[in-house]
């Protein structure tokens, strides 16, 4: 069993990895400047809206309305719109809601994915094929198809317009990806490790806890990050299932704020956008390599 050759990793499986570059620059010529120009111009055009929003979110409102295009002088910048967005426009509430729902969903998904991923990977049991197929099936069905019946079911269960009504469906739909990634993670560990642990007298449970789990943080981080992003981001189901404004998640709240921007001011609306985008951007900045790898792997498998 240990001798059977594993098939070479397919392109599909390896795609999330971004190989480290060698430091050797050596014989490679520099590219013609036209390329650099192209990339930088694209960066300018493509990122300008974001920078612009950031700038505008830091201006007092009057300035914006009189001259939306001008680049504000540094001394004109103010954090004023942010407290407005935070308390008056209730972004704080929305942020808290999103945080609660995300945290709970991530926790649930991690627990369930690790368990199932491990079971599917190493503890073959009767009918595990069926379970695997079932999770893959979930990925094939577009979410929109499910929203309607999900709404009815959630209504029957009485969890509409509540945290649970968000957490449970979000968990369900993040599971396939989570299970798949954790399973792949466990698959990639060498069998010898398991055998050695068992031979050393560990019970199955101990094998899991003491030996394998400590090796999984990479996969756990990936699943956690992807789940978080998916939930933080989600708009449609939140729109459908939440009625009371107090319960709005960030995307919902942001759209509401935007609809009222004439009341609060454009700059407050922009500040809201920055607040909503912040966690994800921070995650990117903290670990660029890991983040890139996680997101691309997730997008591909999803």
């Amino acid at each position: 069993m240990e001798n059977q050759l594993k098939p070479p990793p397919r392109v599909v499986d390896r795609i999330g990895e971004i190989p480290r570059r060698s430091n050797r620059r050596g014989r490679r010529q520099r590219m013609k400047p036209a390329w650099a120009l192209f990339l930088w111009i694209y960066a300018l055009v493509s990122l300008y809206p974001l920078v612009w929003v950031l700038m505008q979110s830091l201006r007092p409102d009057l300035d914006f309305l009189t001259d939306p295009w001008s680049i504000p002088a540094f001394q004109d910048l103010t954090f004023e719109p942010y407290p407005s967005a935070w308390s008056i426009a209730r972004m704080a509430d929305y942020f808290a809601n999103s945080a609660i729902v995300s945290a709970a969903t991530v926790a649930l998904v991690l627990i369930l994915s690790i368990g199932s991923g491990y079971a599917l990977s190493r503890l073959k049991f009767k009918g595990y094929q069926a379970v695997y197929v079932a999770t893959m099936l979930m990925m094939a069905v577009p979410a929109a198809v499910i929203f309607l019946p999900l709404f009815i079911v959630a209504n029957d269960l009485g969890i509409l317009d509540s945290y649970l009504g968000l957490i449970l469906p979000y968990t369900t739909f993040s599971l396939p990806l989570g299970v798949y990634l954790m399973k792949a993670n466990f698959d990639s560990l060498p069998s010898e490790l398991f055998e050695a642990a068992r031979v050393d007298g560990c019970s199955e449970w101990q094998v899991f806890w003491k030996v394998i789990l400590p090796l999984a943080p990479g996969g756990i981080a990936t699943v956690g990050l992807l789940t978080f992003m998916g939930v933080w981001d989600e708009y449609i189901w939140a729109l459908v299932s939440v009625r009371s404004q107090a319960l709005f998640t960030l995307p919902l709240g942001l759209v509401t704020l935007d609809q009222n921007k004439f009341q609060y001011g454009y700059n407050v609306s922009f500040a809201g956008m920055v607040i909503t985008a912040m966690p994800v951007i921070l995650a990117l900045l903290v670990s660029q390599r890991g983040f890139l790898k996680a997101v691309t792997a997730g997008a591909i498998k999803g």
Binding site: V11, F38, I236
Partner: protein, 311 residues
């Protein structure tokens, strides 16, 4: 607890010839079972319910009593609105694939060959892909705004045109406008994945070409492109799938308007369900769309398995 080898071996003989000493099927079932609960409750049950409802005419109130049999399905198959909506899907997918892979490829090549500042660019250019959908939709809605939006202000201040162009309000412009937004998101995605593929090319190939005097363009066309072809197909397939399934961005930006000009397949489904409460029809639609999309899946999977080629 079988903590000695003999005991384990015995157990293996007795059980259904598992996969060698050790793995305990019972623990496996125990660990996997909890995940089945949300699956059954929030996926299987709704799915079955939807199947049932699709045979009725139902608006959400009262009992399920208006049996119409296959009418909803027939209606779905003959509904021109639906097929036009799916055509819109094709258009959006085409724009996304061509733009996303096309531009992404060029960007990836530049990063691969390490243009000045590539470390910064690699991260900065990726940002559009990870932004929350609501933020993207709102920002672009603002860009496209006729009177104060960035785009029109830019156009008029540089003198290109003075008209107030209704980007999202014009029936013909709306869909392309929305497609561009989505493409803006997919370009970084394609860029990173293609970059990763390029980095897997053995460097000897590139170096040899450079020594032989190949220009950047030649290296790209003859060495890099063939090497990353499987990955390029993969990215194409993924973009198509993403575009077919989702509609968040479009929904927030235009709600499907103006006059349905941006209503893609799944958005059409949503509108039947929620504003119109045609639950029965919507359910049938859901299955029809799922089957159509399911037809796409085998095609893409076939393309993907062709990409089993190792570099």
């Amino acid at each position: 607890m079988a903590s000695d080898i003999d005991g384990v071996r015995l157990r293996v003989d007795v059980k259904q010839g598992g996969s060698g000493p050790g793995p305990s099927p019972r623990l496996g079932a125990l660990m996997a079972l909890p995940a089945l609960v949300p699956f059954a409750l929030f996926f299987l049950w709704p799915l079955l319910k939807a199947a049932r409802i699709s045979f009725y005419e139902y608006d959400g109130f009262g009992p399920l009593d208006d049996w119409v049999g296959l009418d909803n399905y027939v209606r779905a198959l003959t509904d021109s609105e639906l097929w036009i909506a799916l055509l819109r899907n094709v258009f959006v997918a085409a724009v996304n694939v061509v733009g996303g892979v096309g531009v992404g490829l060029l960007l990836a090549y530049g990063l691969f060959r390490k243009v000045a500042g590539w470390r910064f660019l690699q991260v900065a250019l990726f940002i559009p892909f990870i932004l929350p959908v609501a933020v993207i939709a709102l920002i672009w809605r603002f860009i496209y705004e006729p009177n104060q939006g960035l785009l029109n202000s830019f156009l008029s201040s540089t003198g290109i045109t003075d008209n107030t162009i209704l980007w999202l309000g014009n029936e013909w412009l709306a869909l392309p406008a929305v497609s561009i937004v989505w493409t803006w998101q997919h370009i970084p995605f394609a860029m990173i994945v293609l970059l990763a593929a390029m980095l897997r090319i053995p460097s000897e190939l590139i170096d040899a070409a450079q020594i032989d005097g190949a220009t950047d363009g030649q290296t790209l066309r003859h060495i890099v492109l063939p090497a990353i072809r499987p990955t390029a197909w993969l990215v194409t397939a993924i973009i198509i799938l993403r575009v077919s399934k989702a509609f968040d961005v479009i929904f927030i930006m235009t709600g499907g308007g103006p006059a349905n000009a941006t209503t893609t397949g799944t958005l059409y489904l949503y509108k039947q369900a929620f504003p119109f409460s045609n639950y029965g029809y919507a359910s049938a639609l859901g299955f029809v769309i799922a089957i159509v999309l399911g037809g796409i899946l085998p095609l893409t999977i076939r393309k993907m398995s062709k990409s089993n080629v190792e570099l």
